[in-house]
Symmetry: C2
Subunit: 309 residues, 2 copies
């Protein structure tokens, strides 16, 4: 089997396990009213690459742990990613009507229920990480607390939510109707480090913690994941220019058309692709420092850069 | 000193400590972008009774614990309560422009930033409970995990968010423009048990866990807090009829005018007040079962019923 086929098979197997665990972890009636349960399920079931949970499980494996121990954190992070898309798509935010090729939740269920479903998914993420895995041993409790902090910091106002606030400010005119000047390269990178990078880093770090990694391993995996996150965003911008709407499941060229700063706009397409490759090279160095260069993690990084949607 | 003066002094001292801890626990620049940090601070600083954190600290004390150990959970729960008000006030939800006598956050900062600030507060709540208290002992980690689960379940789709979804359904017309029939008494109680009761219960239970209470104590405090939560809601409905806008800091009579089901509408004012007193009586029985009837908790319950705003 070629390395590419082997990776595809790995991703398929993990994605199936993740999809099953996600649905099993969602709250359902009668403990949860059906309207909000249905709304949460609609968005979680809409598919997606499951990049963050896959990275979480692979990080647990990379440090010699059992990936099943990291599954609750992996699902929790996908809940958080899903909530962020629901709120990001709202009319008051990006006002997107299409996501992963399907109508966005607020189009289907109304704005109010979409806000609540997002709130519900974010909250459920923490319930899940606290509840599972269920074994009541002291080491596990300490790992859970550490993972919950990592995920909350990555998802919160210092991380993802903060990045969205910066992104929002870029497209919000002042009282005179004037937009702020476009971000320069360094500011764009800092914005994305929060908006997408922080949760991708948290995914990998959380997996490494649940897998019982050493502090040095957790730190190296965190640094590698920061590079993956940057590469992911650069490629996202590239695909926004090159991709067709059908592949992306969202409107191609929308970010560029909205005047949002992008890597290709700042550096051009070829240089952007080179920058993504350089991210992978730096990730390889970080992982080699703790002898994890042969783990699945670098293959997953390569997949991020070579994906077409 | 009279019992009433003694309670007022207790509440003032605790409220001051809570307000200080709340501000110290908020994320701030440079780790958090200033726009979202300012928005979060605006809503947290808007005041309020601090009922939930007070109940959390008093529960820790009632079981013989140190209330300072419960302060992070108390602040986290107030962050969650604050986020729920921000999102509840949004144009897509209740569309309120006044809260605690001040303009609501979306009026000041715009809808998008209000959504993000709410998301940030909810997420920060879990970061705070995972991070503090900082001592790295195994008992504490186990308590934190238990408290995080209690709070997430109370705040989530099976609790507060679920209650808001039921409340929303009551005022959402179907495709033909027809509103659903009003809730009967049992359904109203079930809705409030989620919408306000679940987080009030979680406040008390979380305090009892952090204070090192026995399972029997935690259970009794949880049952008493469920009664406090119901009494709180009944009195809220009574004040919505009787109160002036100035006292409430919101528009009096608004719920009744919106056709929302209320206790006075179903049972009349006098019977509603009697029902609130009966809640306190049942709470007293629950607490007496574990010899906690002399704790501050019942005084706090009485304060909930006798408040004027």
């Amino acid at each position: 089997m070629s390395a590419a086929d082997d990776l595809q098979q790995y991703l398929t197997v993990r994605r199936t396990a993740i999809d099953t665990a996600l649905l099993a972890s969602l709250p359902s009636p009668p403990s949860c009213p059906s309207a909000v349960a249905d709304a949460m399920r609609y968005s979680v079931s809409a598919g997606g690459k499951r990049l963050r949970p896959i990275l979480c499980l692979a990080s647990a494996e990379a440090v010699g742990g059992n990936w099943r121990q990291a599954m609750p954190a992996a699902c929790a992070i996908e809940f958080i990613h899903t909530y962020s898309l629901i709120h990001d798509d709202l009319p008051a935010m990006d006002n997107d009507t299409l996501r992963r090729g399907q109508p966005t939740l607020h189009v289907i269920a109304g704005e109010a229920l979409a806000i609540l479903a997002g709130d519900g998914l974010l909250t459920e993420a923490f319930a899940l990480m606290a509840r599972e895995p269920r074994d009541a041993d002291a080491t596990l409790a300490a790992r859970k607390v550490r993972v919950i902090e990592i995920v909350a910091v990555g998802a919160g106002a210092a991380g993802m939510v903060g990045g969205q606030a910066i992104d929002l400010a870029c497209v919000t005119p002042d009282a005179a109707g004037t937009l702020p000047p476009p971000l320069d390269g360094e500011s764009l990178r800092a914005m994305h480090a929060r908006k997408t990078g922080a949760l991708i880093r948290a995914s990998a770090s959380a997996g490494a913690v649940m897998g019982g990694g050493s502090d040095a391993q957790i730190d190296a995996i965190d640094r590698a994941a920061a590079e993956f996150g940057l590469a992911f965003q650069i490629i996202d911008d590239v695909l926004d220019i090159e991709g067709a709407s059908a592949n992306l499941g969202k409107t191609a060229g929308k970010d560029a058309a909205a005047g949002k700063p992008t890597y290709p706009a700042l550096y051009g397409l070829d240089a952007s692709k080179r920058m993504a490759d350089e991210c992978l090279a730096r990730a390889a160095v970080a992982l080699a420092d703790v002898r994890l260069a042969d783990s699945r993690l670098l293959q997953i990084g390569r997949w991020i850069v070579e994906r077409s949607n």
